[in-house]
Amino acid sequence: MMVADSSGTSKDLATALVVASYRVAEVRNAPQTRLLAGRLEVNLEELRESALSEPAVTDVQVSLVKPGESVRLANVLDAVEPCIKAESPETTFAGVIGKLEPLGLGLTNRLADLAVVPLCDFRATHDLEREMEAPIRWHSIIDMDGPGRPHTHWGSTTNVVLQFTCNSDDPLAECDRAIRRATAGVARLLASATIDTPADDREIFRWDAVPAGLPGIAAIIQVGADEPLLDTCFYGSSMKDTVPFLIDPREVLDGALTAGAYEYSGVRNPTHFFQRNKLVLSLLKLHGTRIRFVGVIPTLAYLQSNFEKSRHAMIAARLAKSLGATGAIVASYGTGNAQTGTMLTCRACEAMGVKTTVIVSETNGGLIDHVPEADAVISVGNHEELVREWEPETTLGGHFYDVESNAPIESPGPLSLMGYFGSSSQMGDTFLRTVDV
């Protein structure tokens, strides 16, 4: 049950997640980072110093980039909403930079309409072919204007852009970890301006027992976790080699899940989409009235064999069933290889009597994979559809590389939605759909 009000008693804080939202109408560089009546003043140099505190980071350029500006952000790694555990700031992003405490309870302040966006041209300092099993190649851009702007959420947010340069002597994994920690640190620093100031909105998220008879619904969410740069973390550590388990939905909203996967940017899950996950937000709203939200169950994408995929599908389905789910919303990830796992999860659930709805991104050839049981599919867009070419005045984030040859190129040309950050994310956070015409 979710109630928006301005209370938030200590009893609430012990048993609920209370999210206090602060709307930001204006952001500008100033000597002191503070929030004054919707106007955020940011000391960009202070943010830069915070980011540089990570040894593997040799340089960070910090800039404010706003919607409508003729700016393209390239080599986008993630988008993180500024947030802070107001009662215990040291636990913010527990496990990543914060002290290890269970997240999803207590008071969390967030700066709405703002995002911290890390960019890094890893190819400029590292040999990805040597250091990675599956070297990342795809474009990852955010356009603040032009035809690509509507296709990413962050074309409409004010972005605190961090352009990272890493130490080429440090292993890629260490650089990646440093960037993720630095980004989280900047997000927390920005949100610290909200402490002890009045919020614009307050949401109270409970996950209590509900009356018998309500249908149980699970959210089975696929995540990628293979190696550094192709990873998703839970409380700061890679989810690689995990099996499906139960996550408190409020942990998802409170920074327990963070993104570290940098391929196929159009079809994966930025941290921001976990923090404001629409599936979780809506299911929590319905919890206690129309449904019993049994919880969030992660499964892994890109498992290497049919056996592994089937095993994960079975375990996830069994867990959903054991939790009393009558239905499960199965969110996909990435492309074909991962979507096969999604379809197997759908099949495994249906075989156990758990009805499914599947969320997938499609291609020019329609669905990549399908099983007959997947009769309730939400399509979040054809990620192969091309966006018209656009020439921004400014590009931040380093070089573009040809996805076949890895050679540096001036501009990516007309790019498919696959290259637009979060454009067709398969947890359902966007408003795109593919229809028959």
């Binding site: 599936l279 809506s282 969110a331 969320i359 599919v377 947890m427 408003f431 795109l432 229809v435």
Partner: protein
């Protein structure tokens, strides 16, 4: 703006099933339902349903020549409603006209095989199954024809014409998450919902060839609506609700008077004089006696493939196949229209 209108033998006034072999015909101006089209029709071209089906390239050659001679702005075909052969002719002719640079507008039921035949080339007004809808359909076809010629068809409201086989991204009001939750709630409540993405039409792989039919059991299956006299199971003449099996184990032939066709989609009197013209049991038995066929299953599996919905047809096919597999049949000889 001028149009050419394509009609089958029935709507052109040549006759019913008995005129289904009507050779292509050209008439000046509008004929029959064409007179109610709100567009100048300079010529009407006609072809019998059976002639088109059996002599497709000859029919197309003649019809397209007449159409091109008129230099029309648009070709209008039908409406065919649920008539499969007529719809197929409309869709095929429309597709070929579009390839020659002439836009085409048709009207038919969404399940008509003519939709597939058109292959996305034509703008097809969706209709009901029955001719009763004619008065409402013709103005919609005229409007669409005008829109197509004037280049504004693509901005018509959804539902104006059937999807043309493409898919496109659109922004919608509800997030994917909220649409997923809505669909989930409908599904568990048993309410109807419509999936947003379907797999392409199932491609059945080619079954492995038999080593020798002389060592195998085959079964006779038909969608020509062949039933014992008086139709004991009340097999429908269209929109069949099921399939039936009839004991032919003691028969050497399907005798006229003992067996008949109840199929409502073609002229059955030729077949009823000799039902072996639909299910060649007489020839099958002869070849079986000579050892060319090992065994013949004791039953004829029969349904009517007239206006039968695709989903239901798939169901019948799967069920019959399942039965045949269970009893060790290696191959089915399926006959139909």
């Amino acid at each position: 703006m001028n149009a050419v209108h394509f009609l089958n033998q029935f709507f052109a006034g040549c006759g019913g099933e008995e005129a289904a072999s009507q050779r292509p015909l050209r008439l000046d101006g509008a004929v029959g339902p064409g007179r109610q089209l709100d567009i100048a029709v300079s010529a009407t071209v006609v072809c019998g349903d059976d002639y088109f089906g059996e002599m497709e390239s000859e029919a197309l050659g003649q019809l397209l020549q007449w159409i091109e001679d008129e230099k029309p702005d648009v070709l209008i075909c039908g409406p065919a409603f649920a008539a499969g052969r007529y719809g197929y002719a409309c869709g095929t002719l429309a597709r070929e006209a579009v390839r020659r640079g002439i836009p085409a507008v048709c009207g038919m039921h969404e399940e008509n095989p003519g939709v597939l035949a058109a292959d996305g080339a034509a703008y097809i007004v969706p209709t009901g199954e029955g001719v009763a809808g004619m008065r409402k359909v013709l103005p919609r076809m005229s409007d669409l024809a005008h829109a197509v010629v004037e280049g504004r068809a693509e901005s018509a409201p959804p539902g104006t014409y059937l999807p043309r086989g493409q898919r496109a991204n659109v922004f919608v009001e509800k997030s994917g998450a909220d649409r997923a939750i809505e669909m989930m709630l409908a599904k568990i409540a048993g309410d109807s919902y419509e999936t947003e993405a379907k797999p392409p039409l199932e491609k059945v792989p080619v079954p492995q060839a038999l080593a020798s039919v002389a060592n195998a059991t085959i079964a006779l299956v038909t969608e020509a609506g062949v039933v014992p006299k008086d139709n004991p199971d009340r097999l429908e003449q269209c929109r069949a609700k099921g399939w039936h099996s009839y004991d032919i184990s003691g028969l050497d032939s399907l005798q006229s008077g003992s067996y008949e066709s109840v199929h409502g989609g073609f002229d059955v009197h030729v077949a009823n004089r000799d039902p072996n013209r639909l299910v060649p049991l007489d020839a099958v038995r002869a070849l079986q006696r000579e050892g060319r066929i090992g065994r013949v299953d004791g039953f004829l599996y029969s349904t009517t493939g007239n206006c039968t919905a695709t989903a239901r047809s798939l169901k019948f096919g799967r069920e019959i196949a399942q039965r045949l597999k269970e009893i060790g049949v290696a191959a089915a000889l399926v006959t139909g229209t």
